[in-house]
Symmetry: C2
Subunit: 208 residues, 2 copies
């Protein structure tokens, strides 16, 4: 193992940056802190990523990539109907639980007004998996599994936002509800409830 490894340095800086940016946001994060966390010299950050904003962008696209991976693995299961909806909620929930930095980073982006957000390339997986879900809802409607009056597009949006909000507002909600929303058992209950919420709203009658 060589003592000097550009690729490895780059990767370790990126990981350290993800942690620092997720914790403190773009403004709050310190380039010196990222250098320290990664065990690399600050200089290297500028060599590899240009500047602080370039590093931020790389971190964002990295966490998006992980999200797309999770989405793809769901699509590969080839599910449909109720089972698809349930697994979709589970997939999002599990991903967000396992990737708190994804939640934080996207929230930071939103608060900065999306000013560092590059437009998503057409036909990217985000859109693809969305389309996949909308199509599945449409098919379910045709088959009579889902209610005829539901709007697939709005429903898809609601599913994503509903999952996300369980994580993005833990602290203020915990305070408001006087309960810890961060624990594993609570999150499991929230996951189940969220799945029921979506299914309860779109399904015709009958068994769960």
């Amino acid at each position: 193992m060589p003592e000097r490894d550009a690729e490895r340095s780059r990767r370790e800086i990126l990981m350290a940056a993800e942690a620092e940016f997720a914790q403190k946001g773009f403004y709050g994060a310190r380039v010196d802190a990222i250098a320290r966390r990664s065990g690399r010299n600050k200089r290297m950050i500028y060599v590899y990523f240009g500047d602080k904003e370039g590093l931020w962008r790389q971190v964002i696209s990295e966490v998006y990539r992980r999200m797309e991976e999770a989405e793809q693995s769901l699509i590969d299961l080839q599910l449909s109907g109720r089972e698809l909806v349930r697994r979709m909620v589970y997939t999002y929930f599990d991903f967000l639980q396992a990737n708190p930095s994804f939640v934080s980073l996207l929230s930071w982006e939103n608060l900065d007004g999306g000013c560092r957000l590059e437009p998503l390339p057409e036909g990217k997986i985000g859109r693809q998996s969305l389309q996949f879900f909308v199509d599945a809802l449409e098919r379910g409607k045709a088959e009579g599994i889902f209610r005829p009056e539901i709007d697939p597009w709005h429903t898809a949006l609601s599913m994503i936002t509903t999952c996300f909000a369980n994580f993005s507002n833990r602290y203020t909600l915990s305070r408001l509800f006087g309960a810890d929303l961060c624990g594993a058992e609570m999150l499991a209950a929230r996951k189940e409830h969220t799945a029921r919420l979506i299914l309860g709203c779109i399904c015709t009658e009958g068994e769960e």
Copy 2:
């Protein structure tokens, strides 16, 4: 009208701080900028609010107060059953739409891990209105209007998170869905859909 008015200065600094903090967050906000926006001298901020964090806390409690006002006016309507649920969603939606800084400030708080959040005093309106809603759901269950299997507590939480998420993640969602989620007509559609989502999930059968 006196040229020197401590109360008015305090108020105007607070308003300027709300705007600055909502836009930039705690770390990103600049005390100098708040002074400039309020047309007051920076020194006065430290006289009235101690330090940057004291100012932040005052801003937070001010926007919470406005929220509690909206909640109280809903409670005063003395509604119940389906009508209450619908109006509750409307109330939250309208409030969040009219108070973007509330959304931003709470999101900033969450991202900082709630570290500047003081514990909510027992019996405060936030809890009260929550209890009011939970009780109403319980009553609806007893009356057969709402499904017997719903969990009122989780449902209340879902309602709030579902409303909130429509605002807190506009930009990344707009990008993902390739549609502007900030426009008035879109928000009206989201409001209606959100009400249907909650009602569809909790109501037994029948007409809307």
